[in-house]
């Protein structure tokens, strides 16, 4: 078994673990804002736009500083940062002055910058192989070789992001939700926008070291998408996406180390170590999947469940009506019902558990007081709808039964009251059938 604490204390393991967590949390925070602003592609464009900056940074810094020194790293990050800002500026200009749509502008800049980066890199490969390798780290990411001295900058960045988001939270919320309102209210939208863009660019540039230019965009988007369906507040979105990011980063690191050990043990002749970045992203993507399946609103499972229970409600209510037609005290044989309504046995069992029907001798069933009240209510709603459709919507009497058959099941209390208010106290429907009273419906 592995020891989680060692991932935070072991001199080799702690830098990648803590670094990845900081990177993941800061990118999850700014990523949430991007996703809510419907600018998810922005991260993708920025990380690719930063790549030529990395390559140029290597070429500028390598002659003067030893590789993996602070100066070298700083120059590299600075160049990457400047290029991603240049990318944003060009995207803005394309949209504003050339009337290019935003997705087209993003893709164009992404391809242009990345192409230039690859072009310069392939030249480097021939003349300076060592420099080329340095550049490749930022293309594919390499978390495992991170060292303690990188940690302060990662943690500072995350802290900076958290502080900015906390301090300017109400304004950011307004800007994201209703940009037009923010502008008309004359809050300082421009400065917040610039600040947010800087935060995104920073998160991308810092994250490239561990995730790589290609995968970085995923870390911006995945935790946000995973958190989105669970939240109804902006702050809970931010919290939850950071938690998802934290779990992904930690799990990714553990999987990479333990998985590599396991592979070494069982397949010693495979020379293969599991890379950290892709594993982190896979875990994050897994959490997205989890959310899409299990989220309480809009999740696949919950929607299936809601559809199932609505269907069950319709069948139950139809069954109640079938009982109602036979009269208050009548006992009905299961066989009679089975032909009319599917899943009859299950529905009867459920209604017995709820106390709506009682079992009589010889496989016969009759309604309890509660069941009778519910049946009356359904019939009442059905007939009220018929009245409404005939009198208010001028539908033909012969056509309204089918519509009412559907509408009677969707009623909630508010709709029911509105309908009763409109129609007043009625005693008969358009087919001259009596309408059960509200008291009979148990209200």
């Amino acid at each position: 078994m592995f020891d989680i604490v060692s991932y935070f204390t072991d001199p080799i393991l702690r830098a990648p673990t803590i670094g990845c967590i900081a990177m993941a949390v800061s990118s999850a925070l700014v990523g949430t804002l991007l996703v809510l602003q419907k600018r998810s592609l922005m991260g993708e464009a920025l990380s690719h736009a930063a790549f030529p900056g990395v390559v140029l940074g290597v070429s500028i810094a390598a002659p003067f500083w030893p590789q993996e020194s602070e100066g070298f790293g700083a120059i590299l990050l600075l160049c990457a940062f400047l290029f991603s800002l240049l990318g944003i500026k060009m995207i803005d200009m394309l949209q504003k002055h050339c009337k290019v749509s935003s997705d087209a502008a993003l893709c164009f800049i992404l391809a242009l910058f990345f192409g230039i980066g690859v072009l310069i890199a392939s030249r480097l490969q021939v003349i300076q192989t060592a420099w080329y390798r340095q550049a490749l780290i930022f293309l594919y990411g390499q978390a495992a070789t991170m060292m303690d001295r990188y940690l302060p900058i990662y943690c500072l960045l995350t802290l900076f992001t958290v502080v900015i988001l906390t301090v300017a939270y109400p304004q950011i919320q307004i800007l994201l939700f209703d940009g037009g309102f923010a502008k008309r209210s004359k809050i300082k939208t421009r400065s917040i926008e610039v600040l947010l863009t800087l935060l995104v660019a920073l998160a991308v540039v810092i994250g490239m070291r561990s995730m790589g230019a290609v995968l970085m965009a995923g870390m911006l988007i995945a935790p946000a998408v995973a958190a989105r369906p669970w939240c109804s507040h902006l702050h809970s979105c931010l919290w939850l996406s950071s938690v998802f990011a934290l779990i992904s980063a930690l799990t990714g690191n553990i999987l990479s180390v333990e998985g590599t050990r396991w592979l070494l043990k069982w397949y010693p002749d495979w020379v293969f170590s599991l890379p950290t970045g892709p594993l982190i992203l896979l875990v994050a993507a897994g959490s997205c999947f989890f959310s899409l399946l299990f989220a309480p609103k809009g999740g696949v499972i919950s929607r299936l469940f809601k559809r199932f229970s609505y269907r069950q409600k319709i069948l139950t209510e139809n069954l109640l009506k079938a009982f109602w037609k036979q009269g208050r005290e009548a006992a009905i044989e299961v066989k009679e019902l089975q032909g009319m309504i599917p899943f009859c046995d299950w529905l009867l069992f459920r209604m017995r558990c709820l106390g709506w029907v009682r079992r009589k001798t010889g496989g016969r069933y009759s309604l309890s007081a509660e069941g009778w009240a519910r049946a009356c209510r359904i019939v009442r709603l059905h007939r009220l709808w018929e009245v409404y459709l005939v009198e208010y919507m001028s539908q033909g009497i012969d056509r309204v039964h089918r519509s009412a058959e559907e509408l009677e099941h969707v009623m909630d209390e508010a709709l029911e009251q509105e309908l009763e208010r409109l129609l007043g106290d009625l005693t008969a429907d358009p087919h001259r059938q009596p309408i059960p009273t509200r008291q009979e419906g148990g209200r």
């Binding site: 809510l36 301090v167 300017a168 939270y169 109400p170 304004q171 919320q173 307004i174 994201l176 939700f177 209703d178 037009g180 309102f181 008309r184 209210s185 004359k186 809050i187 300082k188 400065s191 917040i192 989105r228 939240c231 109804s232 507040h233 902006l234 809970s236 979105c237 508010a414 509105e418």
Partner: protein, 255 residues
């Protein structure tokens, strides 16, 4: 001084219906103003041009004798339902709280006074019990009342609204109207883009009739006549629209 003074306003923004040479003013003293006109007459465009969302080609707009930029504090706008992202993770209370944001700062949390006021405004529109609902889970009428509460929070003197009665049931319409009348009795002015001619006489006291050009503007009692309506709704303005667009394309160099 007037609440609103529009002089020779022309808008031929590419995506919106055209407005041509509009002149009208709305005096002080609390009016409930309807902007009416047939589909494509430029009702929403007029509202957007007033707010500077759409740039006018020529003409001036003055609010309380000032330009929009300096008068923003006195103006609240209630957007059309379709312009809002209803899935955004935000609650009713937070939306109303927005109306009290401090304009001079780019950071800082709302004060206690503002938080209490936001609850008051929710109470006023009868939505206090829905304060912590995510906005997509409100009914159409509640959503409309929510944005009215946000506008009330802004404590403006002029309220601009785009079709506030669309998708709203009769009871809510009554509630909204009584809030409007209360505002008017406090001397505030409301300008509402409206499409239902039947309710104009009952609900409004001032009317602006548009059909690309201004057909008429003034008190409902003198302006809202069958003749005016015939002039606005009886004839189509498509010929003029077509000509204006052609001229615009020629000027921009599009063949």
């Amino acid at each position: 001084m007037t609440v609103l003074e529009v002089k020779q306003l022309t808008v031929n923004y590419e995506k919106a219906p055209v407005l041509w040479d509009i002149d009208f003013e709305i005096p002080l003293g609390g009016h409930l103003v309807a902007i009416i006109g047939p589909n494509g007459a430029g009702k929403s465009t007029l509202l957007k041009a007033l707010l500077g969302i759409v740039k006018p080609a020529s003409g001036t707009v003055r609010f309380f004798g000032e330009a929009f930029e300096t008068a923003t504090r006195k103006i609240a706008y209630i957007p059309q339902r379709g312009d809002i992202d209803w899935d955004f993770p935000i609650t009713a209370y937070e939306v109303v709280l927005m109306g009290g944001v401090d304009r001079n700062k780019w950071f800082g949390w709302p004060s206690r006074a503002n938080r209490e006021k936001a609850r008051c405004m929710l109470q006023k529109v009868g939505m206090l019990s829905y304060a912590d609902r995510q906005i997509a889970r409100l009914s159409g009428g509640q959503q409309q009342r929510l944005f009215i509460a946000r506008a009330l929070m802004q404590e403006a003197d002029l309220y601009l609204m785009d079709e506030p009665f669309v998708g709203v049931d009769a009871a809510t319409e009554q509630d909204i109207l009584s809030i409007f009348h209360e505002l008017v009795s406090l001397g505030k002015t409301l300008i509402v883009v409206h499409h239902d001619l039947v309710t104009v006489e009952r609900c409004f006291d001032w009317v602006v009739v548009l059909n690309t050009c201004l057909v008429a503007a003034g008190p409902v009692s003198t302006i809202f006549t069958p003749e005016t309506l015939m002039r606005a709704y009886g004839r189509t303005s498509s010929l003029l629209n077509e000509a204006i667009r052609k001229g615009q394309q020629k000027q921009a160099g599009i063949p």
